[in-house]
Each structure stands twice: as structure tokens, then as C-alpha cells.
């Protein structure tokens, strides 16, 4: 057991701030690192100690293993927390941290390496009885062999081009009599698109949902799962809204998935916090996708319904303590939703929208949590992921959480750059979202060609004129002939204290 006294946070933005908060609560000294683009960033403001690590480009700063380990040594940190993204799932980094005599707050390097290799890890997990999407990678079979394989998998099946991508050569087949024609067509299409006619068959997942299980493992072989998160609302494989519990799961199915996730953890000897991702179909079948070997962006919704702090538990495990709770002590309480707030323009194909944030006003109130990396006046640099913050709400049930989220989003004011907030509100107000019909096809099915409200209410111009008038010279003669003197405090404008 090693009591951790000082931790270097090898990250930036909201997750660095989140980790620093946990460290402060535990009485652990925090060290932030920053690039030239992040001199005034929120994580730098919050940390107890800071270290400059180079130019804005991630490769020269946040991804530079040597610089980060040097910074940790210089500050006498005894551990490094990688957050998510950047070096979080890089086994060389985890190994380099250990080689430097420091604690890596995350899984063992060999676990990260194994789970990062999708082919190798899948084989290992199949052997342990973890369900994968039925299918086969063997190509160039005879039509008879394809037919047998499709029969074995069960209809509907999906035919995919081996050289594939972009939907070319893909066919969904619902019955055996359509198989032959579909394979021939897919082969022709694959041949013309990729110059390779190889196709393979996979089970077609109807109404797929992305459901993942949060797991924790300690150094003593104890494992727990903290139930599911449903993250089906995705735009181009990027999650934007997550919730828990999932409306698609019965308690029985939830426990079955949880036990499967624990089997995954046991098979690889998982330590620390991790996420086992599954695809879930309308018949209640679930199939393993991958393991994320890090603290997940959407971890707060699990914290809200289980009343546990996952980052603090990661630190507890890294110190070599056993898990601080047992499976039977865990339960889900209420419903939580997270929305990711991105600096992007939903009107212009979600083009990133960095720049200066002139003003921020965050929502508050019962059940509202904001994990933010921004403040009024901060510059959002163009070099990194466009996530600005995460808005998380808790409600007694899904509907209360949904309504609370809409109100919170409406009160999340960000001036100066474009954000996806109006888009998020429209998803939450969509009848299919309200009904809980949240499939991974939700965005293409329901949000295609989305436009923001294009009419500008006249009240907007009233505010603009009020703002112009306030900023204008102070003395005016009003229509009744009186001199009207504006309060000087109304005209000083946007002053702030500078260093």
C-alpha cells in the first residue's frame, strides 16, 4: 500500500478539472500541465502546482511522454492520472510511468495493450464465453457455404465487403431466398468500389442500442459493476447524450450484462475503472464491442445514480487498497442524463467553433451538475477536442431528468462561439426520444437536415438596441426635455480584473 500524496494530471479541459476536484477532496496535491494554448485554462487555475510542457500541438505537449514524466519527477509527484483521450490508453505511456517509479492511475500496461488489440482480445473473450456479434471473417466461400453460415447466424443477416467502408457492398437480407441475389450484388458492388469482391456475413442488429457497463477491479481480484449507461445518441460514432438506467433493460438483463462485464474484467485481470461496451438489439441480445481502459467521458451519470465517486475510487485502487464497496451495496437511484457541450456549429455540419468565450452563465439548481472547462473570457484553442463541458442532471425518473435537462440547457448561456446546445434541446424534445426509442440510428433517422429556429423574435432586437444604448454616450435629452443621465456603472461595460 502506498499513500498517494501528489498527482500529476496529464490532461486538460473539463476532465482535468474534474480530477483535480477529486484530488482536493482527498487532500492530495494536484499538478497540472499546460501548453502555450492553455496558459489561462481552467485546469491551470484550479491546480495546486503547474508545469509548462510546450507548444500547442498535442504531439509536442500533451502527447509527449517524456515531458510529462519529467514534469511529474520535477514536482515530486508520486502518481499520474491520464484522464481520457491523449495518453490514457497508450500502453507505452503506462509502462513509462511505472518505469519512472511512479504509480499509473489506470489499468496495468499489459491490460491496456491486450484490450487495445481488438482481434487478440476478442479471441480471448470468446474463449471465456463473452458473446460477440455472430458472423465470420472467412471470405471467398461458395454460395452453399454462405447459405449454411447465414442459417447458423440466423436472419436477418448483413453482407459486408471485406475491403469495406462507407456502406458500399452492404446488404441486409431478411430471408434465405434473397441471400444468393444479395451476395452476388454485394460482390459486384465491392469489386467496383474496392477492386476486391470478398464479402462476409454478420448478424444484422435490429434497433441497436449502445449499452455499456461500468466496471471496477482492484489488485486483489475483486470486481464490481456499477450498472449500465445507454449512449445510443451518437453523431458519426461520437456520443452526445448519455443516460442511465437504460429503458431497454429489465433488472434480469441488467444483471446478466453486469455479470458478463465482470467476466470480461476477470478474464484480463482488470484493475481500476473501465467500461465494457455492448451492442444491444430489440430481442434483448447483447454483443461485446470493446473495453475502454480509462475513466469515461460519461462517468458522471453513473456517479449520480450510484452515489459513488469513480475518480476517487480509481485513486483508492491505485494506492493498493481493496474496493471500498461490494456489489450488493450498489444500487441505482433515480435517473441521470448527460449532454456533451461542444464548440461546434450544428448549422454548418458541426464545424468546430473555437474562439473567445465572452460570457458564460452556467445552470444550477437541484440535481444539476456542470463539469466544465470554460469560464467568461477564456479562449477556446483550435488544437484540441471541441468538448467544452458536460451538463449532467439527476431526476427521480427519466421524465423529470429530461425536463430538468432541457431547462438547464436553456439556462446554459455561452456567448462568443457557437455550441451544439440548441441541437441538444431539439433532440431531448423529440417525440421518439421522449418515448425512449433511442437507437444508434437516432441522429440519421430523426435529425437529418436539422436547422436552428431561423426566425429572430423582435425581443432579440430590443435587447441589441438596449445594449447599444447602454454602451453609447451617457447624457440624453428625453422627449419631455429633461436631461437623462445614465448611471455610469451601466456604461463602464465589460471590465474585468487583469493580472
Amino acid at each position: 500500500m502506498a499513500k498517494i500524496k501528489k498527482v500529476l494530471v496529464a490532461n486538460r479541459g473539463e476532465i482535468a478539472v474534474r480530477i483535480i476536484r477529486a484530488l482536493k477532496e482527498l487532500g492530495i496535491v494536484s499538478v497540472a500541465v499546460y501548453s502555450d494554448a492553455d496558459k489561462d485554462a481552467l485546469h491551470v487555475i484550479h491546480a495546486d502546482e503547474v508545469e509548462y510542457i510546450g507548444p500547442p500541438e498535442p504531439l509536442k505537449s500533451y502527447l509527449d511522454i517524456e515531458k510529462i514524466i519529467d514534469a511529474a519527477k520535477k514536482h515530486n509527484a508520486d502518481a499520474i492520472h491520464p484522464g481520457y483521450g491523449f495518453l490514457a490508453e497508450n500502453p507505452e505511456f503506462a509502462q513509462a510511468v511505472l518505469d519512472a517509479g511512479l504509480i499509473f492511475i489506470g489499468p496495468k500496461p499489459e491490460t491496456i495493450r491486450l484490450l487495445g488489440n481488438k482481434v487478440e482480445s476478442r479471441q480471448k473473450l470468446v474463449d471465456a464465453g463473452v458473446p460477440l456479434i455472430p458472423g465470420m471473417l472467412a471470405t471467398g466461400l461458395s454460395m452453399e457455404e454462405y447459405k449454411k453460415e447465414a442459417e447458423k447466424i440466423g436472419y436477418p443477416v448483413m453482407i459486408k465487403a471485406a475491403a469495406g467502408g462507407g456502406g458500399k457492398g452492404m446488404r441486409i437480407v431478411y430471408s434465405p431466398d434473397k441471400l444468393e441475389a444479395a451476395i452476388s450484388a454485394a460482390q459486384r458492388e465491392a469489386k467496383s468500389a474496392f477492386g476486391d469482391e470478398s464479402v462476409y456475413i454478420e448478424k444484422y442488429i435490429e434497433n441497436p442500442r449502445h449499452i455499456e457497463i461500468q466496471i471496477l477491479g482492484d489488485k486483489f481480484g475483486n470486481y464490481v459493476h456499477l450498472f449500465e449507461r445507454e449512449c445510443s445518441i451518437q453523431r458519426r460514432h461520437q456520443k452526445i447524450i448519455e443516460e442511465t438506467p437504460s429503458g431497454a433493460l429489465t433488472m434480469e438483463k441488467r444483471m446478466e450484462m453486469g455479470e458478463t462485464a465482470i467476466r470480461v474484467a476477470k478474464t484480463v485481470g482488470y484493475e481500476s475503472a473501465g467500461t465494457v461496451e455492448f451492442l444491444f438489439d430489440k430481442h434483448g441480445n447483447f454483443y461485446f464491442l470493446e473495453v475502454n481502459t480509462r475513466i469515461q467521458v460519461e462517468h458522471p451519470i453513473t456517479e449520480m445514480v450510484t452515489c459513488r465517486d469513480l475518480v476517487k475510487e480509481q485513486i483508492n485502487i491505485a494506492e493498493g487498497n481493496p474496493l471500498s464497496f461490494k456489489q450488493e451495496e450498489l444500487s441505482q437511484h433515480g435517473h441521470a442524463i448527460e449532454c456533451r457541450i461542444y464548440a461546434e456549429d450544428p448549422e454548418k455540419d458541426f464545424m468546430p467553433s473555437p474562439g473567445k468565450i465572452i460570457f458564460v452563465s452556467e445552470p444550477a439548481g437541484p440535481g444539476v451538475r456542470v463539469d466544465s472547462g470554460i469560464y467568461s473570457g477564456v479562449e477556446v484553442p483550435p488544437y484540441y477536442d471541441p468538448i467544452l463541458s458536460k451538463l449532467i442532471v439527476w431526476g427521480r425518473d427519466r421524465e423529470e431528468a429530461r425536463r430538468r435537462m432541457i431547462e438547464a440547457l436553456k439556462n446554459y448561456v455561452i456567448l462568443g462561439i457557437k455550441t451544439n446546445i440548441p441541437y441538444l434541446i431539439d433532440i431531448l424534445e423529440h417525440p421518439e426520444f421522449i418515448k425512449g426509442n433511442t437507437f444508434t440510428t437516432f441522429i440519421p433517422d430523426h435529425m437529418q437536415g436539422w436547422k436552428p429556429k431561423s426566425d429572430v423574435p423582435p425581443e432579440v432586437f430590443a435587447a441589441i438596441e438596449a445594449n447599444e444604448e447602454t454602451a453609447a454616450p451617457s447624457v440624453k435629452i428625453t422627449s419631455d426635455g429633461r436631461k437623462k443621465v445614465f448611471d455610469p456603472w451601466l456604461v463602464v461595460g465589460n471590465w474585468r480584473i487583469v493580472k
Binding site: A343, E344, M351, P352, S353, P354, G355, K356, I358, F359, S361, P382, Y383, Y384, D385, P386, I406, L409, K410, N411, V413, I414, L415, G416, K418, T419, I421, P422, I425, P452, K453, S454, V456, P457, P458, E459, V460, F461, A462, A463, I464, E465, A466, N467, E468, E469, T470, A471, K476, T478, S479, D480, L490, G493, N494, W495
Partner: protein
């Protein structure tokens, strides 16, 4: 009385603004409103309308753009001026396209050089920002007049990177 034309996307709004004692009068494309207001803190205005309605509106002005937030909707507007169109991205000069990036970034690739003939929709320059690449294309058939960027260069927002002149204008 103050008269202003504001631009939102491609739409224009003719606004007149007047003072009548404590009361403010505004007309937007013919719709009239009377109101008073309080600026409760920088960027935050509470508007009281004559019909009893109240609205809290958040507003900031930066480089000739108005950023307004009301009821969970964001509006970015600008005053109409001769030189710039609503987006600020393309200078309004008949038959000339000034290609600018709406955000700071890095030039990934320059696809044309001065003197090149380009077709409408043809790629001119690729700029990377926040791990995303954006290709800017020609608005019309024309000739590349200027290229002010090179690969790897860090660029600011709203600075002309490529200038294209329409073919029809050239003759």
C-alpha cells in the same frame, strides 16, 4: 430615431429604435414593441414589455457581431454594411471571392496557385481546426488571383487566404 439594418444568416431586419420618456420603442420589419429595461449585470438585460411580458436576454458584442442568447436559442447577428456579407467570411464585391476561415487553424493543403482556372465547387484550400479538416471551395467558375497561405501555416479567422475572380468579370 435610430435606423439600423441587421443581418442574420441571409435574412435582413430593418429596425427603428426610439425613446419616449422612460419607454423604448422598437419596430422590426413593421412589428412594434414598447418596453423598458434593466441591465442587471454586464451582458444581462431584463426587458419589460408593455403587454406585461418579461424576457431575460444575454448579449455580447465583439468585432461587429452581436451574440444574443434568449430562451435557449443562440443568435449571431451583425449590422449590415457594404463591405461584408452576413457571415463575414466573404467580402461582397461582385464576382470576387475572398476565401477566409471562420476560425483560427492550420493550413493543411493549398490546392491551387495564382493563375489557375477553377470550376464552381472546386476545392481551393484545406484548413484544419480542432481535429477536423475543412475544404473551402470556389463559389463560381473563375481564376485564382491570390494565394496568401502555405501548408503548415497557422492562420487567423477572417483573413483572406485565397482570392478568386469570376470568369465573367475577367473579360
Amino acid at each position: 430615431m435610430k435606423e439600423t439594418t441587421y443581418v442574420f444568416g441571409k435574412e435582413e431586419f430593418n429596425v427603428t429604435f426610439d425613446t419616449e420618456g422612460e419607454l423604448r420603442k422598437i419596430s422590426v420589419n413593421g412589428t412594434e414593441l414598447k418596453f423598458t429595461y434593466r441591465r442587471v449585470q454586464p451582458h444581462v438585460y431584463v426587458l419589460f414589455f408593455e403587454d406585461g411580458r418579461k424576457k431575460t436576454v444575454y448579449i455580447a458584442k465583439d468585432r461587429e457581431k452581436f451574440y444574443v442568447w434568449m430562451d435557449g436559442q443562440a443568435y449571431i447577428l451583425s449590422e449590415k454594411s457594404e463591405e461584408y456579407s452576413a457571415s463575414g467570411a466573404v467580402k461582397k464585391e461582385e464576382g470576387v471571392q475572398f476565401v477566409t476561415s471562420p476560425m483560427p487553424g492550420k493550413v493543411v493543403k493549398v490546392l491551387v496557385k495564382p493563375g489557375d482556372r477553377v470550376k464552381e465547387g472546386q476545392g481551393l484550400i484545406i484548413v484544419e481546426s480542432m481535429k477536423m479538416e475543412n475544404e473551402f471551395t470556389a463559389d463560381f467558375d473563375g481564376v485564382v488571383k491570390e494565394v496568401n497561405a502555405s501548408p503548415g501555416e497557422q492562420i487567423d479567422a477572417d483573413v483572406p487566404l485565397v482570392v478568386v475572380e469570376a470568369l465573367s468579370r475577367e473579360k
